[in-house]
């Protein structure tokens, strides 16, 4: 077991107020952390902090190895085909699965030459997941991975997460609807709490 992500007393502020209670989060390989909490508590913010998109106001964050982030926005170019979108991703980092294989894995087999803008919301989501497969990245940060997916799509997410954990990867995901249906031994839950509001005076 090796450490993929280390944080200590991580804090982020918005409009001068801390977003969530300062938290410690260590991600081990082969484990998944499920972030839950009410709307607006900062699950997305935390994932963006862990990804490095935002800089923490206080506390420290250490990455060991590459990181992949799948957020609310699909990060897909509508004018490029599915295959071209994945090809870009593949060139950015150490290559993983072959593109046709990755598309088949997320249920988009045969749609490789379809332009991104012609995909439905759920299909875009699936293509977003395929981005995870064409690159070799130990740490996955997933923001609401089950959103806009049908039942089959949700099971694909579960399978992908399960396999990734088996391969020694780590996952942090934020979710409302459902928890990943993988070996419960591998899951850790973190519930975010609102930080106490500080008096501005």
């Amino acid at each position: 077991m090796s450490l993929l992500l280390e944080t200590s007393r991580l804090e982020f502020h918005r409009y001068g107020q801390p977003v969530f209670r300062p938290l410690e989060l260590d991600l081990q390989s082969g484990r998944a952390i499920v972030l839950t909490g009410p709307n607006g508590v900062g699950k997305t913010t935390l994932l963006r902090l862990l990804a490095g998109i935002l800089a923490p106001v206080r506390g420290s964050l250490k990455h060991h190895g590459e990181i992949a982030f799948v957020g609310h926005l699909p990060a897909i170019k509508g004018d490029l085909t599915c295959r071209e979108n994945l090809a870009y991703e593949r060139h950015v980092g150490p290559p993983g699965l072959d593109m046709a294989e990755a598309l088949a894995r997320v249920g988009l087999a045969g749609l490789g030459s379809r332009p991104g803008r012609a995909l439905s919301a759920g299909q875009k989501r699936r293509l977003g997941l395929a981005r995870l497969l064409v690159r070799e990245t130990p740490t996955w940060l997933l923001d609401e991975p089950y959103a806009s997916l049908d039942d089959a799509g949700c099971s694909v997410v579960d399978e992908l997460i399960g396999e990734h954990l088996d391969d020694g990867g780590g996952v942090v995901l934020a979710t409302h609807q459902r928890h990943p249906r993988v070996d419960a031994q591998r899951l850790d839950n973190i519930t975010l709490e609102f930080a106490p509001v500080r008096d501005a005076s």
Binding site: A51, H72, K77, D79, Y88, V92
Partner: protein, 226 residues
């Protein structure tokens, strides 16, 4: 580490070029713009050759400037909206390299066509032939600065409402020296004087923006993601 940064930047550059070719009409807009300006000016101010050749350096440069400005709105905004911009900042952070790649593709779409067609424009505006070389040199040295400074203005106004208005106001003072040195050089050459001093200042200005603008752009982009 350095290798992965170059990979990330090269991948972005290839994708940008692919996208530019896929939307060829949009990519050629700056060039059409240049032609409209160059063709309409003589019709508007009358065909007096002396008048036109006095105005030629300024006109070509203003056309180059407007062509560059025209594409700025789309420099980072589509990436912000579809989420590819936030991916620049995930993990390995080759942000600086990617900013340079993006600016290079902006320059290839807006700056290079102006340089390639500047001899034609110079001929249409009756610029003295011996000043053509200086015009081209001034464009080669100066148009990268247009992309750099334009990129800075575009990144600063990325998530503001009414960005295009603010963008034009922001970029205006930045490019005044550029236009003065560049057109100064070409006018000197047209009068058979040595344009070296002006070109030197122009180059210094471009080098200054090359050093500072990408750092500013990377910081401004990140600010827009918060």
């Amino acid at each position: 580490m350095i290798e992965s940064r170059t990979h990330a930047a090269a991948a972005l550059f290839r994708r940008d070029m692919k996208l530019a070719f896929r939307r060829l009409g949009e990519s050629l807009l700056p060039l059409f713009f240049l032609f409209t300006v160059i063709v309409l000016i003589p019709l508007g101010v009358g065909p007096g050759p002396n008048l036109l050749s006095r105005m030629a350096p300024g006109m070509v440069w203003v056309a180059a400037l407007l062509a560059s400005l025209l594409a700025l709105e789309h420099l980072f905004r589509p990436d912000l909206e579809d989420g590819t911009l936030e991916q620049w900042f995930v993990g390995e952070r080759a942000v600086y390299a990617r900013v340079m790649a993006r600016l290079l593709s902006h320059w290839l779409v807006t700056g290079l066509p102006v340089i390639v067609f500047s001899p034609l424009a110079a001929e249409m505006l009756n610029l003295p032939r011996h000043a053509l070389g200086t015009l081209i040199v001034s464009l080669v040295i100066g148009t990268p600065a247009l992309s750099l400074l334009g990129g800075l203005a575009a990144s600063l106004t990325l998530s503001t409402r009414g960005a295009s208005v603010l963008l034009s106001i922001l970029i205006f003072p930045l490019i005044v020296p550029l236009v003065i040195f560049a057109t100064g050089a070409v006018s000197m050459a047209a009068d058979s004087l040595d344009p070296g001093a002006h070109l030197g200042l122009l180059a210094a200005f471009t080098i200054l923006s090359l050093t500072l603008a990408p750092i500013g752009i990377a910081a401004a982009l990140r600010m827009n993601l918060e």
